[in-house]
């Protein structure tokens, strides 16, 4: 079997093992790693493969989370049925935001999405939507039990459920990136004008990539909301967007496997750094972000990929 097929299978097997052994809390943490990985994968499709820099993906994460929370509390929709709705809502919002983004080159898009990230908590608190969003207090969600009488705790079930969704999303992303659309996305990233001259419809590819990316990150938000059982405006501040960006860069902007590394990084590093001081996580993120930019621009994923290729060649 080819190496690039072996590794994902091994990772997946390694991901299922903890279900039997880990405590509920550690499973919750792993669930969040998977959630962040999906969110970062969405960002990677946009930034890494299409070259559109977003510092505001926390907004899509929040929209996905709120869509699920509102559907579950107001209309009592079962948690799994909220995912398709959330995907559609986020893809639509992403598409609409992608339209002005078409006119914005790299830096301006980063700036605009940054503004979106700063503004989103305020929009969530807005009193006109308070009946649905719960205003400043937010919404509380019940944790789903395992279905069909499976002998699993809610945390075990939720972890497996999240993992299953993630596998589907990763396979789709993998195929998109390796297919015709993926090549068009990367051509635009590398040289927009040349891509256009070769017959790629810039506007169409860019807006659809934006929608796809928003859908992924929004789905991550939905799964995250179910896992955390709570959404509130202040948990979706600008720092969510910045952390997703940090995870993306650390993992490697255009590395699909790297998104897992980036996700593990943003889930576990704050827990470790928090023990030093409250300010430490931000400082550690910042220092590592700058270090990665200077030393390994391809991120950890890019580094490992390079090593793997060298090993494969030497064989």
């Amino acid at each position: 079997m080819h190496g690039s097929r072996v590794i994902p299978v091994l990772v997946l097997l390694a991901a299922i093992v903890p279900v039997a052994w880990f405590t509920d809390y550690h499973l919750f943490q792993l669930t969040m790693v998977v959630v962040y990985a999906i969110a970062i994968l969405g960002l990677s499709l946009l930034t890494g493969f299409n070259g559109q820099i977003s510092l505001g993906h926390g907004a899509f994460y929040a929209i996905g989370a709120y869509t699920t929370a509102i559907l579950m509390t107001t209309w009592e929709v079962p948690y799994w049925a909220t995912l398709p709705v959330s995907a559609m809502v986020c893809a639509l919002v992403g598409f609409l935001l992608g339209l002005p983004a078409l006119r914005l080159g790299g830096l301006y898009l980063a700036l605009t999405t940054f503004a979106l990230a700063v503004a989103i908590p305020q929009i969530l608190k807005y009193k006109l939507f308070e009946d649905w969003t719960g205003g400043v207090q937010g919404l509380v969600i019940d944790k789903p039990d395992a279905p069909f009488g499976l002998p699993l705790s809610p945390d075990q079930w939720l972890y497996l459920f999240t993992l299953a969704v993630a596998v589907v999303l990763y396979v789709i992303a993998w195929n998109i990136v390796r297919g015709r659309i993926g090549r068009a996305m990367m051509a635009i990233r590398d040289h927009a004008m040349a891509a256009e001259a070769m017959g790629i419809n810039l506007a169409m590819v860019k807006t659809r990539t934006f929608a796809l990316s928003a859908m992924y990150t929004g789905l991550a938000g939905s799964l995250g909301a179910i896992a955390v059982q709570f959404v509130a405006p202040d948990s979706f501040g600008v720092f969510v967007s910045i952390y997703l960006f940090v995870g993306l860069v650390v993992g490697g902007v255009s590395s699909i496997g790297g998104t897992l590394i980036g996700a593990a990084f943003i889930e576990f590093v704050p827990n470790i750094a928090d023990k030093v001081s409250k300010a430490a996580p931000g400082a550690v993120y910042g220092v590592i972000l700058i270090a990665v930019m200077f030393l390994i621009p391809g991120g950890v994923g890019g580094l490992l990929h390079g090593l793997w290729r060298r090993v494969a060649k030497g064989r």
């Binding site: 006119r103 980063a110 503004a115 910045i242 400082a283």
Partner: protein, 290 residues
């Protein structure tokens, strides 16, 4: 009604002055290096903490203010020389990454050194209404300080040799180097000046919004909006844009959207400018050769 409008416009101009200064700082760095400094707000917050530290040590207000401005100048200079220099020709993603890293680091340092509690910051200006009750003493004073800074910056760039050299370095680095301008140092000076202007803006806004490590994040957004509205490559435009955004924000907050959606208003201005007129009202169109 009319009095209310006048009042809102006047205090809009007062806060607009703050946005104008931060927008000017952004434009100075953008003009020289084509980078947008996402950490500008956090740098200004850090400078404000420096000023507060010296005030608490017993220094008179204006001395502490001057010390903070000078130290900020040094910090800006140092950041350019160490972090930004190697990025001169790096792709946009790398520069955005480094600026975001800088934002995180400075924000954490503010919280670490000066802790996260919200602090009061003194105002050097009298505490009673002025101009027939339309403006508070602090609003009038901070507007005056902002205007003085803007005029000084203008005079510096128009009428000193150093200012001329800095403009040359930003406008055409290659030719400037050929006539003996030390381009690298000019860019570093620009960063220092931007940091110093940010320090002034931070000290002027802190008495109004109170001081905490995230004080400037909203203000940075308005400054972005102002800079884009006026044209991000035109200092005068950015300053006018900053004032305009202050007035729009105040009028919009009072009569249109309410105070709860003020930040969203900044977002709307940014998106509107970038889609309708990407060069801003006074910016130059940029043509690029293939």
């Amino acid at each position: 009604m009319l009095q209310g409008v006048i009042h809102q416009v006047m205090s809009g101009i007062a806060t607009g002055g703050i946005y104008a200064s931060v927008a000017l700082a952004l434009v100075m760095i953008y003009q020289a290096t084509h980078h947008v400094n996402f950490a500008q707000g956090e740098m200004a917050t850090f400078s404000t903490y420096i000023a507060l530290t010296f005030i608490n040590l017993g220094f008179p207000y204006w001395v502490a203010f001057a010390i903070a401005v000078v130290i900020s100048f040094g910090i800006g200079l140092a950041i350019e020389r160490t972090l930004m220099r190697p990025l001169a020709n790096a792709p946009v993603l790398a520069s955005v990454g480094v600026f975001v890293g800088l934002l995180l680091i400075i924000n954490s340092l503010s919280g670490w050194f000066f802790d996260y509690t919200i602090k009061q910051f003194p105002s050097p200006f009298p505490d009673h209404p002025m101009l027939g009750g339309y403006l508070s003493g602090h609003e009038l004073g901070s507007t005056a300080v902002t205007l003085i800074v803007l005029v000084l910056v203008y005079l510096f760039f128009r009428h000193t040799r150093l200012g001329l050299a800095m403009r040359a370095a930003a406008f055409n680095p290659t030719s400037a180097r050929l006539v003996g301008v030390r381009v690298g140092w000019m860019l570093a000076l620009g960063w220092g000046l931007a940091a110093a202007i940010g320090a002034v803006a931070g000290c002027m806004v802190a008495p109004v919004v109170f001081l905490d490590p995230n004080m400037m994040s909203g203000i940075l957004l308005y400054a972005f909006a102002g800079a884009l509205l006026g044209g991000i490559d035109n200092p005068l435009g950015a300053v006018l844009g900053g004032f305009a955004v202050g007035v729009i924000e105040n009028l919009g907050g009072a009569y249109l959207v309410g105070t709860e959606l003020k930040l969203t208003l900044a977002l709307v201005i940014i998106v509107a400018v970038l889609t309708v007129r990407p060069t801003g009202l006074m910016g130059r169109k940029v043509y690029s050769r293939v």
